[in-house]
Amino acid sequence: MSTVPSVPAPATSTSTSTSTSTSTSTSTSTSTSTSTSTSTSTSTALNLLRSEGIKLATLRSLWFTPVLAALLTVGLTTAVGAALGGKDHSLTDDPGVGLYYGLNFGQAALVCFGVLLIGQEFNTRMITVSLTAVPRRGLFYGGKLAVGALVALAVGLIGTAGSFAGYAATTPGAWDGPALARSATAGVLYPVLLVVFCIGATALLGNLTAAMGLLVPTVFLLSPLLSGVPGARSVVQFLPDRAGQYALHYADNPQVVYGHWTGLLIMAGWAAAAAYGGLRALRRAEF
């Protein structure tokens, strides 16, 4: 059995360099030139992204949920377009309804993905290992958000492009309209904002089960159901998923008090607030 030789930064040189800088122990490596510290932090960030990517790839529940989200989004939109495209006027009057029919189901998988991505670290207490490898909590959290947003962006691109293609093939011409560009942009950004919101909310709660129990029923059941209730409608329209989905629609809804783009901004506001709340909670937490 070999006794652990030759890793790029040998133990002896590392301990020497750290012991010499003991006197200025409070701040990290300011004495070195800025270019060196910049390249160091860049490689640190790249290492972190690679590490979070491997975490994603080595756990089935983590890579399967976004795949499922894309499949549901494209598949159900195409299926509904094929079955009802020519008959159901609620789909064709506002192409945004039929185009994103599948996203209603795909988003449930996206919520699961966002919650699992960081929630599993809390649940298994693996976060103690993650934070010994990456002790700067803001950086660790940033890595989670970046990987989650990148994956969600891919789901948004594939899901939206696939939905447009599938719907166009089954319901010719229905997707065309002046709102096309805005609706497609929102279709790509909605999954990103939703996943960022879920990662933030889960970090804020610090608990996988609590986050799953709160977010999945809210996004999948409560919010769509309540938006049909006259009294609740005026409040529910400001929930992140309602506001974001309004940007997908082609037609104006007189009962919604904000514009389509503003809806996407409201959702972005929710995502930013949740992400910030999660950061603060994570910085304060003790493991």
């Binding site: 890793v7 590490s51 756990l59 599993q120 010994t132």
Partner: protein, 309 residues
């Protein structure tokens, strides 16, 4: 090298770690001992920056842990072997860890071989025994070839062969010049593994000594004596014992015909017996085990004493 200074941690006003200070030096295995609830794990979490100290600080290689760049190259830690996701394979778990600190994938296979998990590398951790998880945790700690190692109860769940293995491993790692801090509640194991002991109770430092000195200081030395004529021996040891040692000398009968004398020197007992015509056929020096010494010194600070005891 780990330096802990004035380290204090309060949870809801209760002091779990109380003004703790000690140094873990390179080249030796430092055993971290204390009864359950003494604050060992909290201290280790404070060193790793997972908990924030109420006061004081812990430095690794002269820096706070959170300030270390690529910390896995400087400190290898095993806190809780169960803190893994069972859905990953052993290799998957080590791969993301290696990537996070820019360590080459080659290291993953090296440490897997070092802990004897090469065969199980592609299996999901879910099916691992506690002993295999401990080995995986040790592999993770060794990944960055760090000069400092910090292991919380690493022999938990290991079979006798595994315990032997980790004992040899820790001693080898220290012999290579690394600083090794290892906590355990298994006293006999620590007596065999640790060169130095840091003992805490109720969060406070009780002892910081070389293992041999600790035993001399806190373990009693007793001399077991047996004589051919029991009544003569009883008369002899029941009398004035002041001449037998420099301090307080006590003698008490134990299991039948034997007596135990503490605080005395064996040659003086032999001389006294000879002068009084008592024929001894056993005179043996007995040292407390580490466990006995530990029990004696932590008796006051046992947090959760069994009610019946």
């Amino acid at each position: 090298m780990i330096e802990v200074q004035g380290l204090t941690k309060e949870y809801d006003g209760k002091r779990v770690v109380d003004d703790l200070g000690f140094v873990v030096r390179p080249g030796v295995v430092t055993g971290f001992l204390g009864p359950n609830g003494a604050g060992k794990s909290t201290t280790m979490r404070l060193i790793l920056g997972l908990d924030r100290p109420t006061a004081g600080h812990a430095l690794v290689g002269g820096r706070r842990y959170a300030e270390l760049a690529d910390p896995l190259r400087q400190v290898g830690a095993l806190l809780d072997a169960q803190a893994v996701h069972g859905g990953r394979t052993a290799r998957g778990q080590l791969r993301w860890l290696a990537a996070s600190n820019g360590l080459p994938n080659r290291r993953v296979d090296e440490v897997l071989a070092q802990v004897g998990l090469t065969e199980a590398a592609g299996r999901r951790i879910r099916g691992f025994s506690l002993g295999m998880r401990q080995r995986l945790g040790v592999a993770a700690a060794l990944l960055g070839d760090p000069p400092v190692l910090l292991l919380d109860e690493p022999v938990n769940g290991l079979d006798p062969e595994g315990i032997r293995w980790i004992r040899t491993l820790l001693r080898d790692l220290a012999a290579e010049g690394r600083a090794v801090l290892v906590s355990s509640h298994l006293m006999t194991e620590m007596a065999l593994t640790a060169d130095h002991l840091v003992v805490i109770g109720r969060g406070r430092l009780l002892a910081d000594d070389a293992t041999t000195e600790f035993l001399q200081r806190h373990g009693r030395t007793r001399i077991r004596v047996r004589a051919v004529d029991r009544t003569k021996l009883a008369a002899l040891l029941g009398g004035d014992l002041g001449s037998l040692g420099s301090g307080t000398v006590t003698a008490e009968p134990v299991d039948g015909d034997a007596w135990e004398v503490s605080g005395a020197e064996p040659e003086r007992i032999a001389a006294l017996a000879a002068a009084n015509g008592v024929v001894l056929y056993e005179i043996a020096v007995q040292q407390d085990s580490l466990e006995e010494a530990f029990m004696r010194m932590t008796a006051d600070s046992v947090e959760y004493r069994a009610a019946a005891a």
